[in-house]
Symmetry: C2
Subunit: 204 residues, 2 copies
DNA sequence: CTTATCATGTAATCCGTTACATGATTGC
DNA sequence: GCAATCATGTAACGGATTACATGATAAG
């Protein structure tokens, strides 16, 4: 139910039209709560019916400027203080990690290093925003800066983790090669030292 | 479209029934790709129609044991190697941060410190898993360990960030109080005692 | 024989995505 | 006049959530 609260939150800063809100979503909330135009207009109508926002002014081209109501502000406060956040839920990049075992170690490493680069690029983008934005001492921007810092720290951790993980794959490969060598020495029917591409791991 | 790939991924490790898969989802994939029972059973039927999995055996109580097909494995490999991950998209905990300005600084701090505690508890839970799980040297568990490390590192970063953020709120409050005092005195008198614990790292 | 577990499914509803449709006003 | 921008909406589709429905079998 958080699209509703994202809209209420933006309107708590200043009145805006659906069109304005879309710009705000794309400018500042893309990475935490993306929304499409359909969604925003639909939600504004629902919020109006529920009495949490109201049309404060009509402008040219059928523009409707929405403002948050007292009920809306109460709902926003309630959400901020009483409703427990759930945290990020789905992460398809990490989901893939669980299944990297079906790839060759080299392919798996390549995947992890790509992840590292993606994180590094994200970090650079956040730094860019940090430099570009004017961080005046207003309360509003204190929290904007805090959210940005989250992005900066998370992308750093992500990159470090991915590089470490790629390295772990190397170590594991080495360990496995060692085991194979030992097994070869111990038995009479040695196998090839490289596994082609179709090796299954059903022997557990 | 990643539910499909989560199911394929689990079936690539061993054949399983829908019931088994649900246990696996709840045991190991809850935090990266949660799925409900309806979804899993529905997806298995779709996957069977698409020829990516097949019913390998029938058991008691109408149990259907599914196995991944060659086409399914090819699809899984394709997804792992060719399809770019999108990363986590929605984060309602961070979304709230953007709107903490409508709360009092104390309420905002309380929110951030609760986030820190949640992260700390998550970290402890991951450590518990780390200690409990048997990390044999199989390839499968290499990647399980890597995914767990992600959780460990991210929860640490999250906790540190939240504590830092709570601190920032204090500094901002202090700055604002300072401004008010200066405005009251009505004269210019620059002071240098502020900024208690605010170590910056993106040196500007 | 009764309960817990195993096992599969359907229906309703909501949320999110993509695409389509339409029109008013401003600036050149 | 024409293009860019401003501005709002609807329709179709698929994914996710919740609730409901049903029954078989193993264990006590």
């Amino acid at each position: 139910m958080s699209l509703r609260h994202a809209v209420l939150g933006l309107l708590s800063e200043s009145p805006a039209s659906g069109y304005d809100l879309m710009k705000l979503f794309n400018a500042s909330l893309t990475s935490v709560w993306p929304a499409t135009q359909s969604q925003v207009y639909g939600e504004l109508n629902k919020l109006t019916t529920a009495g949490l926002v109201e049309v404060a002014a009509h402008g040219p081209r059928g523009r409707k400027e929405y403002a948050i109501t007292d009920d809306g502000l109460a709902e926003l406060r309630h959400w901020l203080t009483e409703v427990a956040p759930t945290g990020p839920q789905r992460h398809d990049g990490l989901l893939r990690v669980f299944f990297l075992g079906i790839l060759t170690p080299l392919e798996a490493q390549s995947y992890l290093l790509t992840q590292a680069e993606t994180a590094a690029r994200a970090h650079t983008a956040y730094e860019q925003i940090d430099r570009t934005a004017e961080w005046d001492d207003e309360m509003i921007s204190v929290y904007g800066r805090i959210a940005l810092e989250y992005g900066l720290r998370m992308s750093t951790t992500m990159e470090e983790w991915a590089r470490w993980a790629a390295d772990e794959v190397t170590s594991a490969k080495a360990r496995k090669a060692g085991e194979l060598a030992r097994a070869q020495r111990g038995r009479e029917r040695p196998e090839q030292d490289e596994q082609p591409a179709g090796e299954r791991h059903s022997g557990d």
